[in-house]
Amino acid sequence: MAANMSACLLALHRCCQYPALALVARRQWSSSPAPPPLHRRLLLFLTQQYSDIEMLISWSSRRTRKQLHKKNVYYGYTESFYGRDVASAYFVLRMKGTFRYVGQSEWYGADQRNKLGLFEDWEFLNYKERQLEEVDLSDTEINYTGLSNIEVQRSLKTLKVSHCPEVDDWFLEKLHIFEDTLEELDISHCPRITIGGLAALRNLKGLKRLNVSSLAKISNPGLVIILLEEMLPQCDITATGYKLDLDPVMDNEEEEEEEEMEKEKNLFQRWR
């Protein structure tokens, strides 16, 4: 509330800063022979109310942040009833991820959902003290605070967080808690990871497979991959989706096809 108040005051201030703009707009209006069309009037109206729009946008972004925070909150309530392992499992399922228990072979959470997206099988509530071995949280909104829910799973072997928009360098840094057991890590297509976060993977000495494909913020991927390979010598690093200058033979086929299609498109356009 308080913050909203100050924001309103600021908005008011900014409103007062645009009298010139309003004057100009009105002058144009009055000098033209007929009132401008609806869309232009709407745009003029919007330019005068710019600060209100700014307010609305900041409110909506604040709301999104609150929702994200709510999703990733620590499941203390569940933990008080069922223990930490069940709380972790519940968290993974709530985030629409899947997991596999230690010693079992089937993945939990994949098809236990009905048409509404709610899962029906609440069996996992009975499995207290059962640790998770593999967790797949791809395409979810997990972030640094959400990781505290899975922190307790000390026999975690596989973690997949590809295509997660909120996974960033701080998340990678926190993964050191799994340094003894983690063997496979998939962080491909996460737009927020940078080289500073990849340096944090140095603690995961037991890592055997690492997937760092298509990370948007890596500026020189070839060098980064080489440095990663030096840092983690026993690890198998997969890094596709980058335009490396010295292409190995394997990646060429797809790229050649794309180039040919582009050339054809260009020719077509020129003919037209």
């Binding site: 100050s6 600021l10 007062c16 050191h176």
Partner: protein, 466 residues
């Protein structure tokens, strides 16, 4: 600039428009102001509620005040500084939790928390998100036999602190296994930070703070403080001794490259002038002999050198910010085999602080031998560039001084961090904001860093192994 021009339009008085235009062209040496939240309405002289000078990253106070207190709309003139001489941008930019004082550990943890959510705090609509280029590579402290016990005690303190600092102790053999490029001769114990430690780009942080402050309505000005106007009161304390109390009434700000000056009235002054805060309080003639029972601020500039070296076979991506027990440190810079290194000179051989010239002999004599013995790969290296910056060195106990000055009624201090200013800046800013707005600390209790310890002559020393 838009703020300035609109202000010029609104104010009708001829004098103030003239001054308004002048203010916008100030260029200062070390001034930075924490903005406050009033939109000041009309002014003949510029009236601010809180005037803060500093060079460091204290706009953190600004946004905290803005965020938590809407009634407090103060006008704030952000006296901008010439950032090329600011200690912030010349620092190595590291942040660590490996301290011995719990307050310092808390400050670093809170600052790391701030940086983790930096876009939430300092994000501005329609602008790029803040990218600190934070490298999460951790700090590595090496201890010889004589100081290993200090390291162990520090480790216990760090783990026990609320929310715990994630640090690990390594023996010499574990160290060799983890970092094979280190020569572990003489090393008995090592302390390695796992989380919330690393280094960042201080210029990005400074700019993020500044951008947020400007977006909140702070007016940016440049100037140099040359004088204060203050009133003096002489009171008697409980022992019957006389004590002078000064209150700052206005600050004389000099325009750059000109003789004109602008007096700025203010209610509260925050001294965060870093290496030159001692000089500022001297302008108020505190402790220079005119006043009675006055204690001067024991902060003075100390010059430190930073050298950028290139070594093609040096440690790779996993190299941490290594600090040896001999005082030499280095860290990786970028991906091209460049490293930043330096050392603390001995007390007796402190370099002259008149300018920012680098003494290259220092590298040859003090830095390279220890560095090469610790990391054999560094025997073959080439110095690419170097620069010098000032520490705001607290000659009393090398820890920050936060809080009111006892002899100056309305001056808050936030200085004297002796090299740790950058990593503590967000949390210290918040603390100062709480002091000013609420009169007491609310999130972190930093009363251990108040000026009182200097009056009582009880130093709060940091028990580092270095």
């Amino acid at each position: 600039m838009t703020h300035m021009s609109s202000h010029r339009d609104n104010v009708k008085d001829v004098h103030s428009t003239f001054f308004g235009a002048k203010i916008s062209r100030l260029r200062s040496r070390q001034k930075k102001i924490l903005p406050y939240l009033y939109e000041y309405l009309s002014c003949l002289q510029i009236q601010t509620q809180v005037l803060i000078f500093e060079i460091r990253i204290l706009p953190s106070v600004i946004f905290v005040i803005v965020e938590c207190n809407n009634q407090f709309v103060c006008s704030l003139i952000m006296l901008c500084l010439q950032y090329s001489r600011a200690s912030t941008v010349l620092s190595a930019g590291g942040i660590r939790q490996q301290f011995s004082l719990p307050e310092n550990i808390h400050l670093s943890l809170a600052s790391a928390d701030f940086m983790r959510n930096i876009n939430e705090h300092l994000g501005v609509l329609n602008e790029d998100p803040v990218d600190l280029q934070f490298n999460h590579s951790g700090y590595l402290f090496l201890a010889s036999e004589g100081v290993a016990h200090i390291m162990e005690e520090n480790y216990k303190t760090q783990r026990c602190v609320d929310a715990g600092a994630k640090v690990r102790l390594l023996s010499a053999s574990q160290l060799k296994h983890k970092f094979p490029w280190i020569n572990t001769d003489g090393v008995v114990l090592a302390s390695y930070g796992l989380e919330n430690e690393g280094w960042l780009d201080p210029w990005m942080l400074l700019n993020a703070f500044r951008r947020k402050a400007l977006s909140m309505g702070v007016i940016q000005c440049h100037g140099e403080v040359t004088d204060f106007k203050y009133s003096i009161q002489v009171l008697r304390n409980a022992d019957g001794e006389e004590v002078t109390l000064k209150s700052v009434k206005s600050v004389k700000v000099q325009m750059p490259n000109s003789l004109e000056y602008q007096p700025v009235e203010c209610a509260i002054v925050v001294n965060a002038a870093g290496a030159f805060s001692g000089k500022l309080t001297e302008m108020l003639e505190v402790g220079v002999g005119y006043g009675i029972n006055e204690i001067p601020l024991p902060v003075e500039p100390r010059k430190r050198f930073v050298f950028v070296v290139h070594c093609p076979d040096g440690p790779g991506l996993d190299s941490p910010f290594l600090i040896d027990y001999s005082g030499v440190y280095f860290r990786r810079e970028g991906l091209g085999g460049n490293y930043i290194c330096g050392a603390s000179p001995e007390e007796s051989k402190e370099p002259d602080v008149g300018d920012l010239e680098v003494d290259h002999q220092f590298f040859e004599e003090n830095v390279w031998p220890s560095l090469a013995s610790r990391v054999p790969a560094f025997e073959k290296l080439k110095v690419c560039s170097s620069w010098a910056g000032f520490y705001d060195y607290n000659t009393f106990d090398q820890n920050g001084i936060i809080g009111l000055h006892p002899n100056i009624r309305n001056m808050y201090l936030a200085t004297g961090f002796s090299g740790h200013g950058l990593q503590h800046s967000p949390a210290v800013g918040r603390a100062v904001a709480e002091l000013i707005l609420n009169g007491k600390y609310q999130t972190l209790d930093l009363s251990a860093f108040s000026f009182r310890r200097i009056m009582k002559q009880e130093p709060v020393m940091e028990r580092n192994i270095v």
